[in-house]
C-alpha cells in the first residue's frame, strides 16, 4: 500500500484544486469554466478519499458518491443552460451575457 504521508497527498489534491481555480479565473469560455469547476469538485472528492483511507473509514467513499451525484446534477443543468445561452446569443463568451435586459429586444 501507499506509505506516502498524508500531507503530501492532501497537497496534491490542493494543487489540483488550484489548477481548477486558475482555469476558472483566466478562461472566459463558459465550457472551460464548467470544466474547471469539474476539476475542483474532483479534487475535493480526492481529499475525502484520502481521509477515508487514512482513518480506514468508509465515510470518505460515501461522501465521494454524494459529490459524484452533485456534480452530475450540476453538469446536466449547466450544460442545458449553456445550450440555451448559445441559442440566444450565438456565443460561448461569459462576458457576453452580463446584461440583464436584452438590447436587441429593446430595439424592436
Amino acid at each position: 500500500m501507499v506509505t506516502i504521508s498524508m500531507e503530501i497527498q492532501i497537497l496534491f489534491a490542493g494543487a489540483l484544486f488550484l489548477t481548477g481555480l486558475l482555469g476558472l479565473l483566466v478562461r472566459r469560455n463558459i465550457i472551460f469554466m464548467l470544466l474547471s469547476i469539474e476539476i475542483m469538485l474532483n479534487s475535493a472528492a480526492l481529499v475525502f478519499i484520502i481521509a477515508g483511507s487514512h482513518w480506514m473509514q468508509a465515510d470518505g467513499q460515501v461522501m465521494f458518491i454524494f459529490i459524484l451525484t452533485v456534480s452530475a446534477a450540476e453538469v446536466s443543468v449547466g450544460l442545458a443552460l449553456i445550450l440555451q445561452m448559445y441559442h440566444h446569443y450565438r456565443t460561448l463568451d461569459a462576458d457576453a451575457i452580463n446584461r440583464l435586459h436584452d438590447k436587441k429586444e429593446n430595439e424592436k
Partner: protein, 175 residues
C-alpha cells in the same frame, strides 16, 4: 506503490493544466478524461477500488460524454474572437501568482498539522454500502431528490422553443 502515486499525480496535474490552457474544447476534454483516469488510479492504490470504478464509469464515462456531446452539438471553434483577443500568455500571470500564493498558504497550514501514521487497508463496496444505507440514508434520499431536480431542470432548460414560422419564410429571410 509510492512511485505509482507520484507518476499518476504528475499525470493528473499536467493533464489538468493542459486541459485548462487548451484552445480546442475537444482536446481539453480528452485531457480532462486522462486526468480523471489517473485520479482513479490514485483512488485504487489508496485502497478505494469501488470509488475508482465509479470514477471511471460515472465521471470519465457519463459526465465527459455529456460534455463532448454538447461541444459537438454547438459546433464551436469559429467564433471565439473575444477570448482569443485577450487570452495572451500575459493574462495568465496574475491569476497564477494568486493561485501560487494560495498554494504556499496551503503548504504552510499543512506543515502545522501532525497526522499520525496508520496502515491503510482496502475498503470494499460492502462496507461503503452498509454505511451508506444505514448512517447516511437521509443523505441518499436527499441526493435522489437532487437528481430528480437535475432531470427536470435539464429537460426544461434543454427544450428549445421553435422560432421558425414556416420553412419558406425562413428561406426567404436567408436569401
Amino acid at each position: 506503490m509510492n512511485t505509482i502515486f507520484y507518476i499518476a499525480g504528475g499525470v493528473a496535474i499536467i493533464s489538468s493544466l493542459l486541459a485548462i490552457t487548451n484552445r480546442n474544447a475537444i482536446h481539453a476534454l480528452l485531457y480532462l478524461i486522462l486526468s480523471l483516469l489517473s485520479i482513479s488510479v490514485i483512488f485504487y492504490i489508496l485502497g478505494a477500488p469501488f470509488s475508482a470504478a465509479l470514477e471511471v464509469i460515472v465521471y470519465a464515462g457519463a459526465i465527459m460524454v455529456l460534455f463532448i456531446f454538447v461541444v459537438m452539438m454547438l459546433n464551436i471553434g469559429l467564433e471565439e474572437e473575444q477570448e482569443n483577443k485577450w487570452l495572451t500568455p500575459r493574462m495568465w500571470i496574475v491569476p497564477s501568482i494568486l493561485a501560487l500564493a494560495l498554494l504556499i498558504i496551503f503548504i504552510y497550514v499543512l506543515k502545522e498539522f501532525q497526522f499520525e501514521k496508520t496502515t491503510a487497508d482496502i475498503i470494499g463496496p460492502k462496507q461503503v454500502g452498509i454505511k451508506m444505507f444505514t448512517k447516511y440514508l437521509l443523505a441518499v434520499e436527499i441526493s435522489a431528490i437532487l437528481l430528480l431536480a437535475g432531470i427536470i431542470g435539464g429537460y426544461h432548460l434543454g427544450k428549445q422553443k421553435k422560432k421558425v414560422l414556416h420553412r419558406f419564410i425562413d428561406n426567404i429571410r436567408k436569401i
